[in-house]
Amino acid sequence: MHLFLFLMFGAVCVGGAINLLAQRHPITSALSLIAVMAALAGEYLLLGAEFVAAVQVIVYAGAIMVLFVFVIMLLNAGEEEQTKGSRVAILLGVPGMLTGGLLIGWVVLRHSGTESVPIGALPGHPTDIAQLLFHDFLLPFEVTSVLILIAIMGAVVLASKPEASAGKVG
């Protein structure tokens, strides 16, 4: 049953990721990325990480992707024009990528395929995560708050109108 659910969510992930690459229009890519993120939340639930799954849906598929869609619509982004790729890159890159991917897949399946992830063995309760986050990882947590503050200020400065900032300076 878990394997079936894993394969179902994984198929949505793989399909969404390929669709992101195949589509020309950025809004379609954004929607398929939202599908990937929602399916990943399902994978997190299978792994027993309920809180991470909730945060994935709220923060990633909610806030961040809304920001992306908002910018796409704000800038009125149309279809991207295709540029000619170099033949050498295609001739060398595609076989190289296939070889590398198959090699990595073989190694991963060979050397870690025996261990199984027991479902629900590690309940990711918010209580346990909060204990870790606010006790063991308190300093990184505070540093990320500074990072967020800097990001907010940077976004405001970068996205503000040039004449407005020039007026403030002058």
């Binding site: 992101l20 990633y60 920001l67 940077g154």
Partner: protein, 104 residues
């Protein structure tokens, strides 16, 4: 293989596939917003392997790292999209091939 268990390697392969899709999109896409979304796809792939390893090694710290990755991704998205808006305002294009000078 016990049917109700999913091997760790399956999660790792899915995570690697998502990361590879992100890398390919980063390289072949020409729209700057789609390139940004490819970066988000890479971060998601890494998050999946974090959570899978957390479940595998019974270490909840792996899930905490996912939150830090999400925070960094949110900050990066905010700043990056602001940069995209600034670039679009000066150049009127989203094609990265035409954004080849730091200064106009």
């Amino acid at each position: 293989m016990v049917p109700s268990y999913v091997p760790l390697s399956y999660y790792l392969l899915l995570s690697g596939f998502l990361f590879a899709c992100g890398v390919v999109g980063f390289l072949i896409k020409r729209n700057i917003i789609t390139i940004f979304m490819s970066i988000e796809l890479m971060l998601n792939g890494v998050n999946l392997s974090f959570v899978a390893f957390a479940a595998h090694w019974h270490a909840l710290a792996g899930q905490v790292f996912v939150f830090f990755v999400m925070v960094v991704a949110a900050a990066e998205a905010a700043v990056g999209l602001a940069i995209i808006i600034a670039v679009y305002r000066t150049r009127e294009t989203l094609n990265v091939d035409q954004v080849n000078l730091l200064k106009l």
